[in-house]
Amino acid sequence: MEITTRSLWTLIHGMGFGALYLLAGSGAVIELQSRFRPDSVNSARAHSPFLGRYLASMAALAWLTVLTGTYLIYPWYRTPPPAGTSNLAAYPRAFLLAHPSTSAWHSIGMEWKEHVAWLVPIAITMAAVVAIRHRNQLTRSVSLRFTLQSFVVLSLVAAGIAGFFGAMLDKAAPVGGGVPIQIVKENAK
C-alpha cells in the first residue's frame, strides 16, 4: 500500500484541514446558538474565552487550507502538458478541459472553488478577532452576535462549496504524481 507525495498533500489539504474546518464550523454554530440564548447570554459561560480560542483555531485551519490549496496543490493541478502529450492523466486541468463531459468541472467547479475558498479565512478571522477582542460587547449587542453568527454560517457555506467541488474534482481528475511513499509493505505470496 503506497501513496504519492502529491496525493498525500491533497489528503492533508482536503480531508485534514478542509474537512476539519467543516466539522468545527458545525460545532461553532451550535456553540454560538447555545452560548447566546436569551437565558444564558449573561452567564459566566457567555463571558468565557473558549469561543474566541475555538474560532481562532478555525481561522488557523481556514488559512492552512487555502494556503496549501493555492500554493501547493493548485500549481500541480494547472501544470500544462508538454506539446504532443496524449495521456493527460497527470495534468488534471488539461484532462478535464479536453472532454466536453468534464470541462465544466474546471470552468465552473475549479473556477468557483479557487475563489470562494478565500472568503472563508476572511470571514472566520474577523469572527475570531471579534470574539477575542470584543467579547464583552458580544454579550451586550444583539446586532454584533447576529453578525458574528451570520459570518460563521456564511463561511461554512463558502467552505462547503469549496469542499464539494474539491471532492468532485478529485474524483474526476485527481492530482497525482510525486515520490511514492510506502505505507504498508505486503510480503509477496
Binding site: T70, I122, S143, F151
Partner: protein
C-alpha cells in the same frame, strides 16, 4: 436584528463599539474586493497578467494577495477612524453580510461571465 445594545451604563467595561464595527465591515470589504478583482481580471487580459504574482499559481495569486492587502488596509483605516465612536452595529452588520453574500455570488463563474 435590533439596533439596541443591552449596554449597562454603569459597566466599567463599556467601550465604544467602533473597533468591532471596523472588523465587521472590513471583512465585507475584503470579500467584495476579492470578487470584484476577480471579475475585472476575467474581463481585462492586461490586468489578469499583472496579477500573476506567482507563475505556477497564475492570476489567483494576485487576486487573493491584493484582496487580503485591501482587507487588512480597510480594517486598519476603519479601526483608526472609528475606535472612539459608537456606531449603528445593525446597519454595519447588514452591510457586511450583504457584501459577503454578493461576493459568494460574484465568484460564481456563470455570473462572472455576465459582465
Amino acid at each position: 436584528m435590533s439596533n439596541a445594545t443591552n449596554a449597562n451604563a454603569n459597566s466599567p467595561e463599556l467601550v465604544p463599539n467602533g473597533s468591532a464595527a471596523a472588523a465587521v465591515l472590513s471583512a465585507g470589504i475584503g470579500s467584495f474586493s476579492l470578487a470584484l478583482i476577480n471579475v475585472i481580471a476575467d474581463r481585462t487580459a492586461a490586468f489578469k497578467s499583472l496579477l500573476t504574482f506567482s507563475k505556477p499559481v497564475g492570476p489567483l495569486s494576485g487576486v487573493t494577495t491584493v484582496a487580503v492587502v485591501l482587507w487588512i488596509a480597510a480594517w486598519i483605516f476603519l479601526d483608526l477612524l472609528w475606535k472612539r465612536r459608537d456606531l449603528p452595529l445593525a446597519k454595519i452588520g447588514w452591510s457586511a453580510i450583504a457584501l459577503f453574500v454578493l461576493s459568494l455570488l460574484l465568484t460564481f463563474p456563470p455570473l462572472v461571465d455576465l459582465f
